[in-house]
Symmetry: C2
Subunit: 358 residues, 2 copies
């Protein structure tokens, strides 16, 4: 066995003390920057520490202060540009306060989320920003809260728990999406989301405080305004994997009386839906209309450019970070960034085939 394979032990305070010929207490005071220590001791200790490659142990310090300088961020799908951009907002805001961001991705899996929160707590992060994959199962987040690791929720609230939650106001934008499609004569409006729920939407599953609840609710309000009824079997949830997304598209597009419009809950869903539409040789908007949530650069470059709901994702990240920093005792300006979604009309919505508007 070589030395490498045995593992090279990191230098400890005791090693440094021995090399410097001082007591462990003196070495610890010199290295930790606390208590009285002579210039001469400081000098020999620092030299010995450098020679041994001693690395001040953040973990050991964490055990004294109880905190590291990290903010833990837990998201469901880092491949979704939504979270990438939010992460930039979070990082930009906390960096100045001296925090590093460590991120864990959960693939929208509750077990993975529970594990991620536990792992981050064990690493003694100063606080957590979580985009919870469930709006109803939150025992692990309550537990983190009870142990005074401040938790701020991102995107999705959790019912029955008054925690800081940074959410965009979708009510108006979602209503506008519904009106836009109904005015164009659409009645068979599909909705696809990756939100994980136990039961199909038409059986009355609880969408909790998720943005999906707001977005689906907006379309429902528009239907009520129009005195029409929405066929709830057109709302497809659980489309988190590529296979599930393809199956949702097949159900909406290949059924008798197919959807004439599809609302995509995020940009990953939109990419999948456009691919499925193309594969079937359908044209947007002549054969089917499309609206997507999140205004990312590619949505303007496809043909036709997509009608989207824009949300201030970067600012959402910054607001989540600011809420957390306030809880951690930092002074953060009180004004809140306005977090409102708005409809951006481009060219992917047309009259429904066979409707009076066509």
């Amino acid at each position: 066995m070589t030395k490498r394979e045995q593992g090279v032990r990191e230098a400890t305070v005791a090693d440094v003390a021995r090399a410097a010929g001082v007591s462990k207490a003196q070495a610890a005071r010199a290295l930790g920057g606390y208590g009285a220590v002579s210039e001469q001791v400081l000098s020999v200790v620092v030299s010995a520490a450098e020679e041994l490659g001693y690395r001040p142990n953040q973990l050991a310090r964490s055990m004294t202060t109880g905190r590291s300088n990290s903010i833990g961020v837990v998201v469901g799908d880092i491949e979704n540009a939504h979270f990438g951009l939010a992460l930039r907002g979070i990082s930009d805001e906390v960096r100045e306060a001296g925090y590093t961001v460590v991120l864990v991705n959960t693939d929208e899996d509750l077990t993975a989320e529970v594990g991620a929160v536990q792992e981050l707590l064990q690493q003694r992060v100063a606080g957590l920003i979580v985009a919870p994959c469930s709006s109803t199962e939150a025992a692990h987040l309550e537990s983190a809260h009870d142990h005074n690791r401040t938790v701020v929720l991102f995107d999705r609230g959790v019912r029955g728990w008054a925690l800081d939650t940074v959410r965009v106001d979708f009510a108006e934008a979602a209503l506008q999406v519904g009106r836009l499609l109904l005015d164009a004569g659409h009645r068979r409006i599909g909705y696809i989301s990756s939100l994980r729920v136990e039961e199909p939407y038409e059986q009355g599953t609880d969408l909790g405080l998720s943005p999906v609840a707001d977005r689906v609710g907006g379309i429902e309000r528009a239907f009520r305004e129009a005195g029409a009824e929405w066929d709830r079997s057109l709302v497809k949830l659980n489309a988190a994997s590529d296979d599930a997304l393809a199956a949702a598209c097949a159900d909406l597009l290949d059924r008798p009386g197919p959807a004439t419009a599809v609302v995509c809950s995020d940009s990953r869903i939109a990419l999948g839906v456009l691919g499925q539409i193309k594969r079937r040789g359908l044209r947007v908007p002549q054969d089917i209309s499309v609206v997507a949530y999140d205004d990312f650069p590619w949505t303007e470059l496809v043909e036709p450019p997509l009608t989207v709901v824009s949300q201030p994702v970067y600012d959402m990240g910054r607001e989540a970070a600011r809420a957390l920093l306030r809880r951690l005792g930092h002074r953060v300006p009180a004004e809140q960034l306005p977090l409102r979604a708005h409809l951006v009309e481009r060219a992917s919505v047309g009259p429904a085939a066979g409707s009076p508007a066509a």
Copy 2:
């Protein structure tokens, strides 16, 4: 001051021992699962631990074993879908071996990268996967290596240091890109990348072991084959910010004798370039040809669909994880995933205006 504001201290082994009425050593043995402890002591200690919400302290255990169960991943730009997909590959591979992935984003900034590596070492990650922002400055990575935190490089090698590096073989694909454009009559071929370098490319800056070196090298080889010379002022690096990217586009598109083709080093660059082309009212490929690296779903949905170089990003992530797991002593199948890029011709390359091919 309320109790919450004072901060709730986490229960320690000492608290558990006190509540259970046993010695601290007994409690530590029972909670740590080491040494001899009676059934009766184990039972009272576990009950007390549950009642106090005692959380086995990963950090404290780390200080004994020297390692946590986390793999640190350091990337330059998590908003680039390339890294999001690679992260999925890494996570899928290490999860079964019992590791969590913690990610730090550096915005392609060397100082941030140095800080990230230090932070992760202090959190005692078991190993690191780093997409270094510089192919030449690597003292911090060598230091991590010396302290036996295994480091695997992703995407970019570091010269003069024989560390495991997971890179795609671009030589053939990059040559094909050059030939494709030269055959279509292009001589004024622009190249844009976010790679940070000290000096402009034409002044002979060292591109190190970066994929950019391979990609630019492939075009140069194609020029040599054709007996033509490439104007190196058309190679624009340092386009990491939106502003820098816009400036690079302006230099290529608005100069006298503008570029007739642009090769985009990643998908973020491609989105920016297409936006700038559209803003100028230019048409692809009639007015300007475009080739992009990374075959993401949106590249097929734009009009015209983009000619791209596809790279097995997910498999790259898996290979990086497997290399790291091998170093950490895990048994991982020996066969390597083939990591070769290939050209996917679609419709964004046309004859150069005014060339014999036009």
